[in-house]
Subunit: 458 residues, 2 copies
Amino acid sequence: MSYFDAASAAPLHPVARQALLASLDEGWADPSRLYREGRRARMLLDAAREAAAEAVGCRADEVVFTASGTRAVHTGVAGALAGRRRAGRHLVVSAVEHSSVLHAGEAHAREGGTVTEVPVDRTGAVDPGAFGAALRDGTALACLQSANHEVGTEQPVARVAEVCRAAGVPLLVDAAQSLAWGPVDGEWSLLTGSAHKWGGPAGVGLLVVRKGVRFAVAGPADEREAGRAAGFENIPAIVAAVASLRAVRAEAAREAARLRELTDRLRARLPELVPDVEVVGDPVRRLPGIVTFSCLYVDGETLLHELDRAGFSVSSGSSCTSSTLTPSHVLRAMGVLSEGNVRVSLPFGAAEADVERFLEVLPGAVAGVRAKLGAPAPATVTEGDALVVDAVGKLCPVPVIELAKVIGDVPVGGTVRVLADDEAARLDIPAWCAMREQEYVGEEPAEKGTAYVVRRIR
Amino acid sequence: MSYFDAASAAPLHPVARQALLASLDEGWADPSRLYREGRRARMLLDAAREAAAEAVGCRADEVVFTASGTRAVHTGVAGALAGRRRAGRHLVVSAVEHSSVLHAGEAHAREGGTVTEVPVDRTGAVDPGAFGAALRDGTALACLQSANHEVGTEQPVARVAEVCRAAGVPLLVDAAQSLAWGPVDGEWSLLTGSAHKWGGPAGVGLLVVRKGVRFAVAGPADEREAGRAAGFENIPAIVAAVASLRAVRAEAAREAARLRELTDRLRARLPELVPDVEVVGDPVRRLPGIVTFSCLYVDGETLLHELDRAGFSVSSGSSCTSSTLTPSHVLRAMGVLSEGNVRVSLPFGAAEADVERFLEVLPGAVAGVRAKLGAPAPATVTEGDALVVDAVGKLCPVPVIELAKVIGDVPVGGTVRVLADDEAARLDIPAWCAMREQEYVGEEPAEKGTAYVVRRIR
């Protein structure tokens, strides 16, 4: 098996495993106790905090260990908002943040706060000027990821931090995807991370709150972790997490160069090997190990199954593979195709031979899925001078496949209406038009679902 | 070293260690993914949930794994209160619950809810009738521990559950201390536990919400654990936790009998070996491994240091050993002496020889601390017909030591006023009177601190 989903969870680093084993015997006691076992646990915890602070570039007393990266984000967002409640209740986030940030924003909105989502460009990056324009009197907090988890695009964090500082608004940086590669530049105020993304064990998140940042913990009091993370400290896992972070950092420069070469190769060769593929995300300002692409006329879930059978573990932002049945909010915010979406995220040490084998296997897998889906002839009728494709009740990517089948029957200058009720069509039909250089006219409510109108212009 | 603080955290069970190691390689991936590593992780998680449900005596889909026992309590209390918000905002808890329950209650009160604390008797147990009397229209939730964490007294959970059921109020049982020994009897509605109390790793709590119990999760949405525990599942630790629970359950009957014999021995011999000691908690209806006692005229922190030097790791509910500077709320609610308090909680497998050695070492340790503290002659004056001991500015146990020194100078029927400003005196002076069969008259505000009035009656 080739595991290419490191952005979701990385396998345990050998150093983390060793550290975990060693500290299971030394770090199980309550570090707040005064007896020998407690003092030993406290020493391990203190040393881990020092080492984490050094890796992040902050003071040890600014580091809080949480039970997960999600918990770090939830606590960080809620605590910073509560601490700045007098300043106002407005939250600014990018449109492509991790769901933990967006869900924290939704919870804030349910409690009467307001949230502004800053849009991104087609590569997935925010514009610092646009981000700054979203800040206003009453903005309590801004959140920006260091790099995107689905497409790998790096955000201009240092410049956004400057803009926030000038406006007097604290910036929380979700650094879950980038912390393995290095500290986050710039004058951020809060930072979050997740150990299982860098080869540490599950069960450890990192929340850094800079001295001077107003912060108020919500919920029941608890004396652990300076009152910022309730519950008995998971010291063996914390020790393993920090050991792993130090280990990956020691290899980071060399490994980043190696993985970047592999992902450059994927970015260059995928469009040569697979017809109708769109590689998304910034080609240069991106994480070393992530490549994301979408394949027209492909059902993401079926493609993932084919790749799994061929020995490749990858993930997808297509609607069909998630329990929510809506396509990835990241791809939607970028305005790129979501159908047949695949994210390849290479773990530390990913073998070149496995990447080459992926390039060998993928074209056949995509062609196979397309062949399976391509059979039914589209149901078309003509209404006045417009051709109508009825794809109501059909899931992505069928509406786009049927559109592609009939576009040749439309006279140049004429239009076709695609009736669809799958939410993904709203994203994929305009994306298809962009790829095919046809005109996307817009959408209209229809008797069944929505009518997406496309004009043939070539 | 003899580690006698299992009620705080138990060392990792060998079975937990094995299970953790095995599942580090199998359980690190995201269980919501469809590829091989994800499916393998999902299978481990599902199997662990089934096994946990069997051990608790519930359905697998009623089990939620949280990041700690504290988190299970916080989520359980908040979720049950929110789910029953229409019924009312009144919460009933026993006065001797774990701090996580009481802190959840304080958080509820800060948000406008009301909380009733049901008192306990001198053994630390609630009376089911009194518990029932605290329920009223508008009671949303009641909480009762299965057994007390400081003194080991078992609560009448099954009878309280009946009372709650009759009143239509869900009962949350904090079973952290008892789950190793067996399931909780009775028709409870919610249950919480903590793996590191039963030899599992840190980082795993258990929250059980019975089908039909109204429950509404507060805070940001997250799809993990049926939306009830945000954050990436810590599967290796969950597998290890459940393996450990099954292993200790398999040994529970035999080990309970063995530990009960050892703690019976401690309960019987401590008062013979150490003068002026009060063994607290129910002598019969109690956990097998916990014995708690308080020593007059002893400073708990100094005694813990002496015992640590002699190789014993125990904890204390005395004010002097905690960061809060107030004596244990449990001892206070029971109305027993808190000074020189020691909790011995034997882990699974505790050696008889170590218990015997503790009985050898303790009398000398207590005598040594008393000798250190006993030196200063009390400063007394006579005001009218009352002797006054000025212990203002002196910490527990000095006020009681000075009282004991002068009581012989008071004529029978006469009174002595002890001026003190250490909060522990409020508990310890009445407790001393009960032990010494003297009359505690009451307290009065004084110019400096509080005056505690004692009448000599023998």
